[in-house]
């Protein structure tokens, strides 16, 4: 282990500016390609966050904490029974719950939506911003169209222990810059 560390350190020190820059750009290309894939997914699904991790157990037994959800927005109207992901002003994490009431005004097309977590006792009115009684189309980020069980647990760990995330990124970064590819 200490061998790898000293080897990495000597590589870093003996690199000249040009090599360092080239390796840095390679690292940048790898990171930005992941970013671009995310942006393309955003454009393709119409959703601000095309992939989300389920953070609470409020939708059990349909979804468990750590599941990954794939979202798609589309233009179709929001209907009862659909599982939607929505944002509430003042909260920075989106919520994944089921639509239980939809009121649509024929003339204006305005839609009021009420949601509730399958595993929760009451509906989501307590979760909405103060004074807000319904969700509207603009709050909805997308509908759940697919899921992967448990794979998102990694994100939850990294969120609960942020230093794990930073450590991981630093180590990966150093490894890439010093890899002699």
């Amino acid at each position: 282990m200490s061998n790898i560390v000293t080897e990495t350190w000597t590589t870093l020190r003996t690199m000249n500016k040009r090599q360092f820059l080239t390796q840095g750009v390679s690292l940048g290309l790898i990171v930005t390609s992941a970013l671009i894939i995310w942006k393309t997914l955003m454009l393709g699904t119409g959703s601000e966050s095309p992939v989300v991790v389920v953070l609470s157990g409020s939708m059990q037994p349909a979804f468990y904490r750590g599941d990954i959800l794939f979202l798609y927005l589309g233009d179709a109207p929001i209907r009862m029974g659909e599982i939607v992901v929505f944002n509430v002003e003042g909260r920075d994490i989106p919520i994944v719950h089921r639509v239980i009431k939809v009121h649509e005004r024929h003339k204006t097309g305005h839609v009021d939506i009420l949601t509730k977590g399958d595993n929760n006792y009451g509906d989501d009115k307590v979760l909405y911003a103060s004074g807000q009684e319904w969700l509207n189309r603009k709050h909805i980020m997308g509908r759940a169209v697919g899921y992967l069980p448990s794979v998102g647990m990694v994100t939850i760990v990294m969120n609960d222990y942020p230093y794990v995330k930073y450590l991981l990124i630093c180590v990966l970064g150093i490894l890439v810059v010093t890899s002699k590819e």
Binding site: V25, S26, K39, L43, E48
Partner: protein, 179 residues
Amino acid sequence: TQEVNKGDSAHIKRLLDEVAAEVVLESGYDEDHFVSNVKIVLGLITCILALVAHFYPEPFPANKDVVMLCVGGYFLTNTLLQVFVMIWEKEVIVFTQPKDNAPHGLTLSTNLPRFSDMYQITIATANNAKEQDPADQIVVEKSVTAWFHDDGYLAEEIFRKDVRNALKKYESMEAKKRK
């Protein structure tokens, strides 16, 4: 000197490449940084496009056009970069400027196929105007076992001598052609 794991083909090639490049650059040639510069510039532009797409100060649906432009631009410059590397760089590990009165610099390329032990050094004229003519190159091919001791240490002097000889053969061939 350096030690390699005898089974690690990639490490062997990297080490030989490094030393071969040193030999060429120590023989009075200046490195030509054109390809390296283009790769860095194109790479930087590509990364910046992605960063703009991410950090543009409008929230999602509003910034859709900017994001689309950036994503499109990203694929474009990335493709440009790959094509450039494919056409210009190929297997070259060093490009040099012309030395003395030579009209062109040279390129040093190496090849070590996947499951083979035959390391091939090619010194050719860095002339992009015409297709690489076999008559314009010196190719030296030897098994890597000729340059490594049993315990994995590189017999550096032997390898350097081989590279220097290849270089001298190339230089005398070039000189003859100009007469």
